[in-house]
Amino acid sequence: MLFLKKTVPFLITLGMGIFTFMYYFMPHKHMKFVWENVSDWAIIIGGGSMAVGAISMIRTYYRKSMNKEDPNRWYAVITLVCMIGMTLIGFIFGIGSETLFNDLFINVMMPLESTMFSLLAFYIASAAFRSFRLKSFSAGLLLVAAIIVMLAQIPLGENISVHIPAISSWIMDCPNVAARRAILMGISIGVVATALKIILGIDKSVFSGAGK
């Protein structure tokens, strides 16, 4: 059992890791053929895993909705009703354009998602309020840079001084890009090291059965 849970996933990871590394440097059509087939398998597995997700969701929310001591159980009931309702509507009336499923998606789901997205504007304001407090020299630098960059985004900035857009561009193109590139280089090296540790089985925490 440990062989199936630990050794087999490790061997698959090792093989695919080496193949992926080689594929980056080898453009030959045979390599591409294998890569495309493997990618197709990944899509098939991804599709199948949706069923696993749905089962998990139904099981969790069914238990929550059955717990009569929980005052929040009605949220779970609403989730289940919506999920089952949408699934049945999709099966009965189809999911193409001008179907009930599509109407519900366009007129209910999308406005709800847009509402959540629009909340970002308020959260940005509250987060900015916290971060732009003049607590130290570094915080002061951040505050000044933020004011210049924000002023440059609106016509008022150019009216105050023609230099504001130029300074804003310099802040974004020089110190900002330098910091981003430094972080990106660190991330890239980290990706190589982490991938190497997983491919060679040095870090086994992501394999099932590693804890035994």
Binding site: I18, F21, Y24, F25, M26, P27, H28, K29, M31, K32, W35, A42, I45, G46, M50, V52, G53, A54, S56, M57, R59, T60, R63, K64, Y75, M109, L112, E113, M116, F117, L120, Y123, I124, S126, A127, A128, R130, S131, R180, I183, L184, M185, G186, I187, I189, G190, V191, V192, A193, T194, A195, L196, L200, I202, D203, S205, V206, S208, G211, K212
Partner: protein, 413 residues
């Protein structure tokens, strides 16, 4: 030297050998040399038009690069379109006749190059004829036959040599330090405040009798940040199991959910408390980004967690999650390699693991010497890269040609 390398690469050398053997076998089996670009180039010339063709370099085959130039200025002025015609060399009529040639592409006269991929098969010689036509499609000039040009696939992309060399150097350094750590060498790793705070946060949750919420991000299982997050989660779950606390993990991606479910279960088994594992606390929530954010915001406001962990890949939902968590008064620890979201986490969370620190956290928490060795190796790779960049910078200042493109890879396939 061999003894030293054997000593250093006690385990990984097996893997490297397997790779070497597999690569050698493939190269021996194949009729085309592994590192040679089999490129057939041929040029044809007339007084009016010059055409040069060759196999497209560094590709998977099925492609010929054509380059042409109209020499006669009087014809060039009248020409509106260039028609590329092709046939298999040696087939059909005598050279010079365009009967058997089929049109493959009509190009604007300003075009100087064409990459022919339409129905090209490797190893077959193709001949080309170019017709120059005016605005009314009257033929001004028909070139003689050019070629044959043969397409072939390449096994190695020469444009990526710099990337290959840097990759090999990086892998060598990382493996070297992993082996040094395995041999018991004491390697200092700079402590990270965020990692230390993780254990404190779990302890705080236990004392308060409230759960921890762990968000593994919204990426797929093939993303390194997700794998790093799972690695951290396995360590946090062990601490949670030992402290007899509770962790809730809503998931965005079904495959990630399946892996996390197993990993958390195993962490509880490892801690000797398999009975304490609650399956309903690790579940799939939704695959829609903002539905996921609203689901977690609701969960936070209902459960009032003592600690929130946001570790993995995040996008626009990061600030919604972090602000919703901040409103509940929970201690918040975030970590992501998504550069655009790092500022949001910094302002809304108590501790933030920036970029590569996310990958380092799992190794740091476990205290496994091999993983710590990998971290040290990572730092040295960064040092090597810094030295290379400084050297290249000064070479560029000195006016050395080709520095700009030296480290640029050949792109994807």
């Amino acid at each position: 030297m061999i003894k030293l390398s054997k000593k250093i690469f006690k385990v990984p050398v097996n893997v490297l050998l397997v790779t070497l053997v597999v690569t050698s076998c493939i190269s021996l089996y194949l009729p085309i040399p592994l590192f040679a670009q089999e490129s057939v180039s041929a040029a044809g010339a007339s007084d009016v038009l010059i055409l040069d063709g060759k196999d497209t370099p560094n590709d998977g085959g099925g492609s010929i690069d054509l380059k042409f130039e109209i020499k006669d200025k009087s014809i060039l002025d009248k020409t509106y379109n260039v028609i590329i015609m092709r046939k298999i060399a040696g087939d059909g009529a005598v050279n010079g006749s365009t009967e058997d040639y089929k049109e493959v592409k009509q190009l604007d006269v300003s075009t100087k190059r064409y990459n022919d991929k339409k129905g090209i098969e490797d190893g077959i010689p193709y001949s080309y004829v170019v017709k120059l036509v005016d605005k009314s499609n009257n033929v001004l000039f028909t070139s003689p036959s050019y070629g044959p040009f043969i397409s072939s696939p390449q096994w190695y992309n020469t444009e990526k040599t710099a990337v290959l060399i840097l990759s090999i150097i990086s892998i060598f350094i990382i493996l070297l330090f992993i082996n040094l750590a395995k041999q018991g060498r004491n390697l200092y790793i700079r402590p990270l405040a965020g990692i230390k705070a993780i254990e404190d946060a779990v302890g705080r949750a236990t004392e308060m009798g409230k759960p921890c919420i762990y968000i593994p991000g919204i990426s797929t299982i093939d993303d390194i940040s997700t794998l790093a997050s799972i690695s951290i989660l396995s360590k946090i779950s062990e601490v949670i199991a030992n402290y007899q606390s509770r962790i809730v993990i809503p998931n965005y991606e079904p495959i990630v959910y399946s892996v996390i479910d197993e990993v958390v279960k195993n962490a509880y088994v490892k801690a000797g408390r398999p009975d304490a594992y609650k399956q309903e606390d690790v579940y799939y929530l939704t695959g829609r980004q903002f539905a996921y954010a609203s689901g977690i915001a609701g969960l936070m406001s209902r459960e009032k967690p003592a600690a929130n962990f946001f570790l993995g890949w995040f996008m626009a939902e990061s600030l919604i999650l972090a602000e919703a968590g901040a409103m509940t008064g929970a201690i918040q620890i975030a970590g992501t390699d998504s550069i655009s979201q790092i500022p949001f986490f910094i302002v809304a969370c108590d501790y933030t693991l920036i970029g590569e620190e996310l990958y380092a956290a799992g190794a740091y928490m476990g205290g496994d010497s091999k993983l710590l060795g990998g971290l040290k190796g990572q730092d040295y790779v960064k040092l090597v890269l810094m030295i290379i960049l400084v050297v290249l910078f000064f070479l560029k200042l000195a006016g050395v040609e080709g520095i700009d493109t030296l480290l640029v890879g050949g792109g994807g396939h």
